[in-house]
C-alpha cells in the first residue's frame, strides 16, 4: 500500500509486518516515534506482541536476549547513549547467537548534549558481532528492517542485525512508502538452540582457553557466510517486491574518475552533488555504503575516492575512510563532516570533490581546504 511516512514510522510498519512476539524498548530521542508507534499497534491489536516497557536500554537488550533464546522473534530500537548503555548486552546477544533485530537511529554522543545525526554511536559497536546496515531513504528503512529479520534468523547467520538510520535527517523526514503484504517472506521463527526443558543445556557457562576461541571463530565464519545470505535475501526481496538492494548503492559510477563514498542520508545527498559535478565536466559518481558489517568487497581500482565520515576515531581518523584504505589499498581524501548534525549540503559535497587531496584528511568547517 502506498502511503507517506517518516523513517521512524517506516521501521515501525516493518516491525508490524514482521510480527515479533516480544518487543522490549526504552525511549530516546530521536528514536521515540518507533517505540510509540509500536505501542499503538500493540494496544490497538494491529500487532499481537508482548511489549516490555523496560527501565533502561541495558534491560531492553537483556529482555530481548531472554525472549529470543526463549524461542520467539524479538525487536528493539534505540539511539546514541541508549546504544552505548546496552553495549555489554550487545556483545551478549551476538555471542549468544541470537537473531535480534534492532533499529538504531544514529545520533551524536555527549557531552554536550546533541540529538542530531552522527554515526559514531553505531561504529562504537562495530566489533560486537552484529551485522550493520545503513539506510538512506524511508522506503529503505522499511525494506531493510524486514530483510534484517530474514537475514538474522537464517541458520547460516544466527547473528543480530542493527538497522541504522540517520537521526532527524531520515528518522523525522517524510517520504513515500510502499508497505507490503509480506506473506511467507519471513518463515516462522526457529532457533536451533532455543531453551527446551526436555533437553536441558547450559548456555554461556564458564568456557576455558581451549574452547573460547572456537566460539569466536564461529561468529566470524557466520559473518563471512552472511554476505551470501544477504545477497540471496536481497535478490528474493527484489523478485517479490520489486526493489533491489546490494552491499552498496552506486550512482553514475560506471565511468567515474572520482567516487564519493558515504553512508546514510549523505550517500543520497552525494547523488545530487554528482549531477552538479557532471554538469561541470567532472566525471564523478557516488557509492553509498549500505552494509558496514560484514564489510563488503569493494572494487575501486583506478578511481580517486572521496570519503565522507560522519564519525571519528580520535587519534586515528575517519572510520569509513580508514576501513576503505585498509580493505582496498586506495588512499582516499577523507572528509570529516556532519558531526552532531552539522549541515552539509550537496554543494558542500561537490566542493569536497573539487578540492580533493588524496591521502589527506579535512575537517569540514575547521580546515580551510574546502
Amino acid at each position: 500500500m502506498l502511503t507517506i511516512a517518516t523513517g521512524n514510522r517506516a521501521v515501525a510498519e516493518a516491525v508490524k509486518a514482521a510480527k515479533p512476539a516480544v518487543i522490549a524498548a526504552y525511549p530516546i530521542t530521536p528514536q521515540t516515534e518507533i517505540v510509540e508507534q509500536i505501542a499503538e499497534y500493540v494496544t490497538s491489536g494491529d500487532l499481537e506482541s508482548h511489549y516490555i516497557p523496560v527501565e533502561s536500554e541495558h534491560s531492553a537488550m537483556a529482555a530481548c536476549i531472554g525472549a529470543s533464546v526463549g524461542g520467539v522473534r524479538t525487536f528493539t530500537a534505540t539511539s546514541s547513549h541508549g546504544l552505548l548503555y546496552m553495549h555489554e548486552m550487545i556483545h551478549w546477544a551476538a555471542g549468544g547467537r541470537l537473531p535480534i533485530v534492532m533499529a538504531n537511529v544514529n545520533r551524536a554522543l555527549g557531552p554536550g548534549w546533541n540529538t542530531w545525526a552522527e554515526h559514531t554511536d553505531a561504529f562504537s559497536q562495530r566489533d560486537t558481532g552484529w551485522l550493520q546496515v545503513y539506510v538512506g531513504t524511508v522506503q529503505e528503512a522499511y525494506d531493510a528492517t524486514l530483510m534484517a529479520f530474514r537475514i538474522a534468523e537464517d541458520e547460516r547467520v544466527l547473528l543480530p542485525v542493527m538497522v541504522n538510520l540517520d537521526g532527524f535527517s531520515l528518522s523525522h523526514i517524510t517520504q513515500s512508502l510502499e508497505t507490503e503484504e509480506i506473506g511467507d517472506f519471513l518463515p516462522p521463527y526457529h532457533l536451533p538452540h532455543a531453551i527446551d526443558t526436555e533437553k536441558p543445556r547450559g548456555y554461556g557457562p564458564m568456557t576455558g582457553p581451549d574452547n573460547y576461541y572456537r566460539f569466536r571463530w564461529d561468529i566470524e565464519r557466520s559473518m563471512r557466510d552472511a554476505r551470501e545470505v544477504i545477497t540471496e535475501v536481497e535478490r528474493e526481496f527484489a523478485d517479490r517486491f520489486g526493489r533491489s538492494y546490494g552491499p552498496t548503492e552506486e550512482y553514475r559510477c560506471e565511468d567515474a574518475d572520482v567516487v564519493v563514498i558515504a553512508l546514510g542520508t549523505f550517500g543520497k545527498e552525494a547523488e545530487v552533488a554528482v549531477d552538479r559535478l557532471r554538469d561541470e565536466g567532472i566525471r564523478a559518481g557516488s557509492m553509498r555504503l549500505r552494509w558496514f558489517r560484514p564489510f563488503p568487497h569493494l572494487d575501486l581500482s583506478g578511481r580517486e575516492v572521496v570519503v565522507i565520515d560522519r564519525d571519528y576515531s580520535f587519534g586515528f581518523g575517519g572510520v569509513v575512510a580508514n576501513s576503505i584504505r585498509a580493505k582496498t589499498g586506495i588512499e582516499p581524501y577523507s572528509v570529516i563532516a556532519g558531526l552532531g548534525g552539522q549541515e552539509v549540503t550537496y554543494n558542500d559535497i561537490a566542493d569536497f570533490v573539487r578540492g580533493r587531496r588524496p591521502g589527506e584528511e579535512t575537517w569540514f568547517g575547521v580546515n580551510n581546504h574546502v
Binding site: A63, G70, T74
Partner: protein, 304 residues
C-alpha cells in the same frame, strides 16, 4: 516422573528424590548456596529454567562442555538477570508455555549491580521468581564487600570491618508490592522448599531472599555451615518470614527466636570476619537486630 505437585511435604523425607544438580560441582566445601539450589530445583521440578548472572553459581555449574545442572541454565551478564528473565517469561507466555523462570543470583548481582533491573521487572509485574542467595559479599571474586555485607564484617575490601550497615534489600523489594516475597536460610531446607513451591504457584513477580553462610568468606570451618545458618536465625540476625499479598507471617523458627533470641555473640564468635569487632560496633549490631525484630513483630500484629 513423580508428580510432585500432589505431594504434601511435612518433612525432609517427603521431598522429591529427583536431582537437578549433580554431584561433583565446582562449589567450595561446605557451600550453602549450592545446597539451597538443590532444594530450589527439587521444588521447581524439571519444567524450569534458571537465569544466572555472574555469581558463585556461574562457577558451580562447571566448565564447558560439562555441566552439573539438569535444567536449562541461561548465564547472563551481571546486571541483567531480572530483565533477561522477564523477556524469557514473556516469550513463554507468548507461546503458551508454563515453564518456571527462576533467577538465581548472588547478593552483589542483586543489591548492587542488579538492583535496577530487579526493580524494573518487579514494577512491570513480570512473571518469574527471583531468588537472591546472600553470602554477604562478592564470594566468587574473593570476598570483596557488597551492599549486603553486614556492619563490622571484614572483607578483602573492608579489611578494617565494614563501616556501614547491610542494605535492607527486603524493604526495597517490599516497596514494589510483589504478590509473594519471603526470606529463607540454608539451614532450613524444608522451609525453603515450601516457599519455592508456594512462590511458583503464584503469578507475577516473586522474591525469595536466602541467607547463605559461606565458609571461606565468613571464615568458619566447612562443617559448621548448617550450624551457622541456625545461629543466624536463633539470634535474630536473620528472620524467616513470608509476605503474601502484603500480609506478613513470621515463620516457626523465628517466632521462637523473636520471643527469646540467643546471644548475638554466639553467632559472631564463630566467624573470622567479625574478629576484633569493637564493643561499640557489637552494640550497634545488637540495636539493629532488635529494631528489625520489633519492626517485623509490629507489622505482623498489624500495628504499622
Amino acid at each position: 516422573m513423580t508428580d510432585i505437585s500432589r505431594r504434601s511435604v511435612t518433612n525432609l523425607s517427603a521431598i522429591p528424590k529427583e536431582e537437578y544438580i549433580y554431584k561433583c560441582t565446582s562449589a567450595c566445601a561446605g557451600c550453602s548456596s549450592s545446597l539451597c539450589l538443590r532444594y530450589v530445583l527439587k521444588a521447581a521440578g524439571p519444567d524450569s529454567v534458571l537465569v544466572v548472572p555472574a555469581c558463585c553459581t556461574s562457577v558451580i555449574q562447571g566448565i564447558y562442555p560439562a555441566t552439573a545442572m539438569n535444567v536449562p541454565v541461561y548465564n547472563v551478564a551481571f546486571a541483567a538477570a531480572a530483565a533477561c528473565a522477564s523477556g524469557m517469561s514473556e516469550a513463554f507466555a507468548a507461546t503458551g508455555r508454563d515453564t518456571n523462570v527462576i533467577v538465581y543470583a548472588g547478593d552483589g548481582g542483586t543489591v548492587d549491580i542488579g538492583i535496577q533491573s530487579l526493580s524494573g521487572a518487579f514494577e512491570r509485574g513480570a512473571n518469574f521468581l527471583y531468588i537472591c542467595y546472600d553470602n554477604e559479599a562478592y564470594g566468587n571474586t574473593g570476598m570483596q564487600r557488597s551492599g549486603s555485607t553486614p556492619l563490622g564484617a571484614r572483607t578483602t575490601t573492608t579489611p578494617g570491618g565494614k563501616p556501614t550497615a547491610k542494605k535492607d534489600l527486603d524493604r526495597i523489594v517490599q516497596a514494589h508490592n510483589p504478590p509473594y516475597m519471603a526470606t529463607a536460610c540454608s539451614a532450613y531446607p524444608l522451609d525453603l522448599y515450601k516457599k519455592v513451591r508456594k512462590a511458583l504457584s503464584i503469578k507475577g513477580p516473586k522474591f525469595i531472599h536466602i541467607l547463605a553462610p559461606c565458609p571461606p568468606g565468613w571464615r568458619y570451618p566447612t562443617e559448621k555451615t548448617v550450624e551457622m545458618g541456625k545461629l543466624a536465625v536463633k539470634t535474630g540476625m536473620w528472620v524467616l518470614y513470608e509476605r503474601e499479598f502484603g500480609k506478613l507471617t513470621i515463620n516457626g523458627p523465628s517466632k521462637a527466636a523473636m520471643r527469646k533470641p540467643e546471644p548475638l555473640e554466639d553467632y559472631i564468635r564463630g566467624q573470622g570476619r567479625f574478629k576484633n569487632l569493637s564493643p561499640e560496633t557489637l552494640d550497634l549490631m545488637r540495636q539493629q537486630v532488635e529494631q528489625n525484630i520489633q519492626r517485623l513483630a509490629r507489622e505482623e500484629e498489624g500495628i504499622c
